[in-house]
Amino acid sequence: MSTIDGMTPDRAAHIHRTMVRIRVFESRVEELFKAGKLPGFVHTYIGQEAIAAGVCAALQPDDYITSTHRGHGHAIAKGMAMGPIMAELYGKETGACRGRGGSMHVADFSVGMLGANGIVAGGLGIATGAALSARYRESGQVAVGFFGDGGINKGTFHEALNFAAAHRLAVVFVCENNQYAQFTSRLRTTSVENLADRAAAYGIPGITVDGNDPNQTHLRSMEAVERARSGLGPSLLNMETYRFGGHYVGDAEVYREASEVEDRRQSDPIRTWERALSDHGIMTEVGLKTIWKEAEAETEAAVRYAENSPDPEVSTALDFVFTAGS
């Protein structure tokens, strides 16, 4: 079957596992948030798993990514353990950022996850700088900058793509086009129908990808990453997808029809991929069930880890910053 073309069974299974882990983690986060257990605000990744999973599977462990306000999926896909992510969402000292950052600032530099970012498109320049650094250090690393259909209208998108393209830096710009920026359909704010058309402004490839098909997200990323690594410069990947949940947990979703959401849920990337995996005999029904079970167990362990962890000591409130004043 065509969807598995060009991918080893191992890779296909790995991507599947990543997607399921993200889905289970995020569903649990949603529950926890609604139960009032998590401070702050959370933006879940449910529905977009094929992107983080497919893209990150195309990367080496020391490659870089920069993420967005919707960053848990990227963090998991890039190799962060669930425990420190969950503990971060709880604001605990054992969190990835020792509870200082929270959901919008999850980061783990040791796995190349250079941070979720609360500023829309804020990560694109940072990914570009990481690629500049990799070029200079001759490390062969590639950087991926994730962003949304809303982020494509920020000036920083333009400045990053122009500079990266002019220097043929090893960056891949991955637009997760989930059709909405907060409550606003991209069609009302964005001057091009196909976001990949923006690549022409920088003389780089602009490729539209079915962002709900892990095969597509992975193979197109492999190509873009390969291109980047071999010195040919950046690409813009426009990955069409849809977020199943609200913009944040608690969003009343008045800006879209329930039927639209229902409709889009039909092309759930995980379900599609499970069908493909069983059709190709890569996974059995039982095997698939096990993956979910394991993800649930992993998530529960992360919740326990987080809940059993201490808050940061208030005496450390001014650690990690040079304090000018009091």
């Binding site: 401070p39 970012n117 500023i119 829309v120 920026a181 907060q182 409130a317 001014l318």
Partner: protein
């Protein structure tokens, strides 16, 4: 258009009060338009709710996530006859439009020799609200107040929210209108009729004789709670809600300090280099001989605002810090 104290009022939230002001301004003056992200849906705190229905998409414009063009287009519209209200959502997003705010909006009238005004209002939500963390919790009035050409207001309650927004929209200069997230949902009585609170007029929210407590925005509420505890200790603080930082109602502060001889300035923004420093420095220079003790400042400690609720509370000031400062200025600690 000053409001009578027995005018009929209605209870509503700070956010609703701003909608009220917007609606009055937009009805009165066709030149008033609104630009911002997602505003047709009401804004993150309901500050724009209902405006689309009444005024339509020509006047209530959902902008792309492009803070620089929100501001620049507002400047362009302002100098060609409109009176735009630009929503920047969280105040940190203004950092993506600082050139437009500072180099363009603030400087045009002067740089162009007075041939044009830039009547626009920049609305932005500031302050700390339940662990919004480092990029969504700052109070940045200390930046805006330093920049000539900008006026800056920061109301503390729904009634002032309405009156100051009306005045800001009517003003011919760019006005930065800061609405603290923690109080946007807070309700209070709001006069039903139309009125304006003059920019540059502070309010004495609580008379007192022992010390002058200058504050604004969310800290006004904290100051009033602190005062209840201070009163129990026998300390009577006079609370001045500045409401408007630029223009600054120095006369009211000076009058109070002349009476009390002691000054505490409290804001949620970082203490170091914050607006409180300006108030302290000015009052010290103008009223040095009246001061019986060193003025004390209350503000956030010098760190990005942490996510952890425990740390957040440690960094961000509240009533406790005000009580402590008041005791210090009274020589009690």
């Amino acid at each position: 258009m000053d409001i009578e104290s027995d005018a009929p009022t209605r209870r509503m939230s700070f956010g609703q009060a701003t909608v009220d002001a917007m609606r009055l301004a937009m009805r009165e003056d066709k030149r008033v338009i609104v630009l911002g992200e997602d505003i047709s849906w009401g804004g993150n705190f309901g500050q724009f709710r209902g405006l689309l229905d009444e005024f339509g998409t020509q006047r209530v414009i959902d902008m792309p996530i492009s803070e620089a063009i929100i501001m620049a287009a507002s400047v362009g519209a302002a100098v060609t006859g409109l009176r735009p209200v630009a929503s920047m959502s969280f105040v940190e997003f203004t950092l993506g439009a600082m050139d437009e705010i500072v180099n363009q909006a603030a400087k045009f009238r002067y740089m162009f020799g007075g041939q044009v005004s830039v009547p626009l209002v920049l609305r932005a939500s500031d302050g700390v609200l339940r662990s919004s963390a480092g990029q969504h919790s700052s109070s940045l009035e200390g930046l805006f107040t330093h920049l000539p050409g900008l006026k800056v207001v920061a109301p503390s309650n729904p009634a002032d929210a309405k009156g100051l927004l009306r005045a800001a929209i009517a003003d011919n200069d760019p006005v930065v209108y800061l609405e603290n997230k923690k109080i946007t949902a807070k309700r209070g009585p709001v006069p039903v009729e139309d009125y304006r609170v003059a920019l540059g007029s502070a309010a004495i929210c609580r008379p007192g004789t022992d010390l002058t407590l200058v504050t604004y925005s969310v800290m006004t509420g904290h100051a009033l709670s602190a005062c209840r505890r201070l009163a129990e200790m026998g300390i009577e603080a006079e609370v001045i809600d500045l409401r408007s930082l630029v223009p600054l109602d120095l006369a009211t502060v000076l009058r109070s300090v002349a009476k009390t001889g002691r000054l505490v300035v409290a804001h949620e923004a970082w203490t170091f280099g914050g607006f409180g420093a300006e108030v302290v420095a000015t009052i010290t220079s103008r009223a040095f001989d009246l001061l019986q003790a060193a003025p004390v400042r209350v503000g956030a400690r010098s760190a990005p605002i942490p996510f952890s609720p425990a740390l957040e509370e440690e960094v961000v000031p509240g009533p406790d810090q005000i009580v402590e400062a008041a005791r210090k200025v009274m020589g009690l600690s």
